[in-house]
C-alpha cells in the first residue's frame, strides 16, 4: 500500500481510538497515539496476515508487548478486517472481549496475552525460534515501549535472540521517552538504546516512528541482517497528532473531557491527508 493511503488509515485509526477512549472513559491514549503509525504500516504494508485465516501456520507474527495500548490494536485489527468495526464501541464494556489488554483466546489476530510488561519479547523469541527450526519464511515482529525495556526479562530475551541468530525477528521500541509517571530519562535512563542492543549482538536502526516511508523501509525484508536479530528504535511522540497531548506525560492514561475530545477530534480531522 502507498504511503499516502497508509497516512489516511493512520489518521482514521487515531480518530477511532480517541473516540473509543473518550466513550469508555479509560485507555492509554498517549502511548496509543505514539504507536499508531507503526501499527498501520505493520498491518497494511508489512505483515502477511489474513483476517479470514488468523491462525494460518505460515502467517507473520506480531506481538504488542505494550499491551496497555490495546485499544489502538483493536481499532487497527478492526480496520484490517479481524473484528467488526462496530465492536470497537464495546471497548471496556462488561463482558466485551475487548478488555484493557489484549486476549488471544478471544480476539482474532492477537497472538499472545500481554499486559504485564516485559513479556512480548521472550514470546517473540520463541516464535522466531520455531520458524527458524522449520526453515519457514514467516517473520516475527514485537513492539515494546521504551520504559518497558527496564524489565529484566527483555534482556534475557535479547541475549537469547542473538545467541540463536534470529534474523527473522524484529523488535520495534516505541521510544516516546515517557513512561507512566515521568520521563524515562528521569526514572531509569535507558539512553542511548542503540549501543546497548549492539553490545547484545543485535543489528540496530533508528527511525522517525511517525515517518511512514521510514517505517516501510526499516521493516522491509531487505533490511534483514543475516544472523542478527533487528532492533528498530522508533523515535516517537507520546500523544502524537493531538497538540495538547504531545510529549505530555499526564496523557499516559488521562481521559479527555468533552471539550478536549472535540478539540482533539477537530485537530485530527484537519490533519486528514
Amino acid at each position: 500500500m502507498e504511503a499516502h493511503q497508509l497516512r489516511a488509515i493512520a489518521n482514521r485509526i487515531r480518530r477511532r481510538d480517541l473516540q473509543a477512549v473518550f466513550e469508555a472513559g479509560a485507555g492509554h491514549i498517549g502511548g496509543e497515539m505514539s504507536v499508531i503509525d507503526l501499527l498501520t504500516v505493520l498491518y497494511f504494508h508489512v505483515l502477511n496476515v489474513d483476517p479470514n485465516a488468523p491462525r494460518d501456520p505460515q502467517r507473520d507474527r506480531f506481538v504488542l508487548s505494550k499491551g496497555h495500548t490495546a485499544c489502538a490494536l483493536y481499532v487497527t485489527l478492526a480496520e484490517a478486517g479481524f473484528l467488526p468495526k462496530a465492536e470497537i464501541s464495546t471497548f471496556l464494556q462488561p463482558h466485551s472481549r475487548l478488555n484493557g489488554h489484549p486476549n488471544c483466546t478471544k480476539v482474532p489476530g492477537v497472538e499472545t496475552n500481554t499486559g504485564p510488561l516485559g513479556h512480548g519479547l521472550p514470546v517473540a523469541v520463541g516464535m522466531a525460534k520455531a520458524a527458524q527450526l522449520d526453515g519457514a519464511a514467516w517473520r516475527t515482529f514485537v513492539l515494546t515501549g521504551d520504559g518497558e525495556m527496564q524489565e529484566g526479562s527483555n534482556w534475557e530475551a535479547a541475549m537469547a535472540a542473538a545467541q540463536f541468530g534470529l534474523d527473522n525477528l524484529t523488535l520495534i521500541i516505541d521510544h516516546n521517552r515517557f513512561q507512566q509517571g515521568a520521563s524515562v530519562a528521569g526514572t531509569n535512563n535507558l539512553a542511548p538504546i542503540p549501543p546497548r542492543f549492539e553490545a547484545f549482538g543485535w543489528a540496530v536502526a533508528e527511525i522517525d516512528g511517525h515517518d511512514i516511508e521510514a517505517i516501510i523501509e526499516a521493516l522491509a525484508p531487505a533490511a534483514r541482517v543475516p544472523g542478527k536479530p533487528k532492533c528498530i528504535v522508533a523515535h516517537t511522540n507520546k500523544g502524537q497528532g493531538i497538540s495538547f497531548m504531545r510529549d505530555r506525560v499526564e496523557w499516559h492514561h488521562k481521559v479527555p473531557n468533552r471539550e478536549q475530545y472535540e478539540r482533539a477530534r477537530q485537530e485530527l480531522e484537519e490533519a486528514m491527508p
Partner: protein, 316 residues
C-alpha cells in the same frame, strides 16, 4: 512386612517417554535453563541437538520462549528445577501460558524438597499453591515411574498447558505397569473404611506403608493417590469422606495452600468430617536430605500412622 522394593528416579521415566515422543513427532522440543543434566535431557540433546533449546539461566525467558514456540506450532516441554521454574517465572506462567492457553508442558524437576541439603532456596514446596490458583493449568504430581511415564504421554496428547511436578527422590513402583493416566482422577491404592489417606508424589508410597502399620493396629486405611491437584477428584474425596469419616492428607509441600487445602475446600463444602493435613509446617526447612526432612515433619510411615490414629479418635 513387605520386602524392600527397588527405588526409581522418576526423571528417567520422563526422559524415556519424552525421547519416544520426540522420535515420533518432529515438533516436540525441549526447552531448558542450563538444566540439561538435572532435567535428564542429555540423551535428547545428543539425538536432536537443534530441538534442545537451552536459553541459559533465565527463567522468565524460558517460559516466554516456550509460549512462543507453541504459538509457532511446536510442542514444547519446558524443563527446569521446579523452584526456579515456578517461583521465578510465575507471572510468565500466568500470562504467557495459562491465560494465553499456550500448549506448553511445564516440567518442574526435582520438586518438593528433593534438593534437601541445598536448603529452602532450592525447595519447591509452594508450587501447588501458586499454580493451582491459576485457571487453565492442570497440576500433576505423579507418584512413581509408571505414573510419570503415563502422565508424560498424557501431557503430549492433551491440547493445552499443564504442569508436571517431577521428583528425583527414589520411589518404588505403586501402580500397575499398564496404568493409564486420567486427569483429575484419583487411584485407589488400598481399600479400607476406617479413614482415608490421600497423598501424591513421593508421599504416596509412604502413605501405603503407613496403612500397613495401621492394619497391624487394627485400623484399615483407604489410600488414594491423587496426582492431579487441579482439577481435583471431588467425587473420590466426597465418597471417601462419606464412607470412611476421616481424611488425612500427605504432601511434600507446605500445608498452606497445597493438596490438603484443596481437599479441605471440597470437604468443607460437601461433606465436613475430621481432617488432618500433613506437610511442611509453614517453616523454612532445616538442613537435611529430602527423606530426612519428610521424616522430621511427621511424614515417615510411623509419623503418618500416628497422625492417623489421633484422627480416627476424633471421629464421632
Amino acid at each position: 512386612m513387605t520386602a524392600p522394593r527397588q527405588l526409581h528416579d522418576c526423571r528417567d521415566a520422563f526422559t524415556a517417554v519424552l525421547e519416544a515422543l520426540a522420535a515420533a513427532n518432529p515438533d516436540v522440543v525441549a526447552v531448558c535453563n542450563d538444566s540439561v543434566g538435572s532435567s535428564k535431557l542429555g540423551g535428547f540433546r545428543d539425538q536432536w541437538p537443534e530441538r534442545l533449546i537451552n536459553v541459559g539461566i533465565a527463567e522468565q525467558n524460558l517460559v516466554g520462549v516456550g509460549a512462543g514456540l507453541a504459538n509457532g506450532g511446536k510442542l514444547p516441554f519446558v524443563c527446569g528445577a521446579s523452584c526456579f521454574l515456578t517461583g521465578r517465572a510465575l507471572e510468565q506462567i500466568k500470562a504467557d501460558i495459562a491465560y494465553s492457553n499456550a500448549n506448553v508442558k511445564l516440567c518442574g524437576m526435582s520438586s518438593g524438597m528433593a534438593y534437601g541439603e541445598l536448603g529452602p532456596t532450592h525447595h519447591s514446596i509452594e508450587d501447588f499453591a501458586w499454580l493451582r490458583a491459576l485457571p487453565n493449568l492442570p497440576v500433576i504430581a505423579p507418584c512413581d515411574r509408571i505414573e510419570t511415564a503415563a502422565a508424560t504421554r498424557f501431557a503430549a496428547s492433551y491440547d493445552g498447558p499443564l504442569f508436571l511436578r517431577l521428583s528425583r527422590v527414589g520411589v518404588p513402583d505403586l501402580l500397575p505397569a499398564d496404568h493409564e493416566f486420567a486427569l483429575g482422577k484419583a487411584n485407589l491404592l488400598r481399600v479400607g473404611d476406617d479413614l482415608t489417606i490421600i497423598a501424591n508424589g513421593v508421599l504416596s508410597h509412604r502413605a501405603l506403608a503407613a496403612a500397613d502399620l495401621l492394619a497391624a493396629q487394627g485400623l484399615e486405611a483407604r489410600v488414594l493417590n491423587m496426582a492431579t491437584v487441579r482439577p481435583l477428584d471431588d467425587e473420590a474425596i466426597i465418597r471417601a469422606a462419606a464412607e470412611t469419616g476421616a481424611l488425612l492428607t500427605c504432601e511434600e509441600h507446605t500445608v498452606f495452600g497445597g493438596l490438603g487445602s484443596a481437599v479441605a475446600e471440597v470437604v468443607v463444602r460437601h461433606r465436613p468430617v475430621p481432617m488432618e493435613i500433613l506437610g511442611v509446617p509453614g517453616i523454612f526447612a532445616p538442613t537435611g536430605s529430602a527423606n530426612f526432612l519428610l521424616d522430621e515433619f511427621g511424614l515417615s510411615p510411623a509419623g503418618i500412622a500416628q497422625s492417623a490414629g489421633r484422627l480416627v479418635a476424633r471421629k464421632g
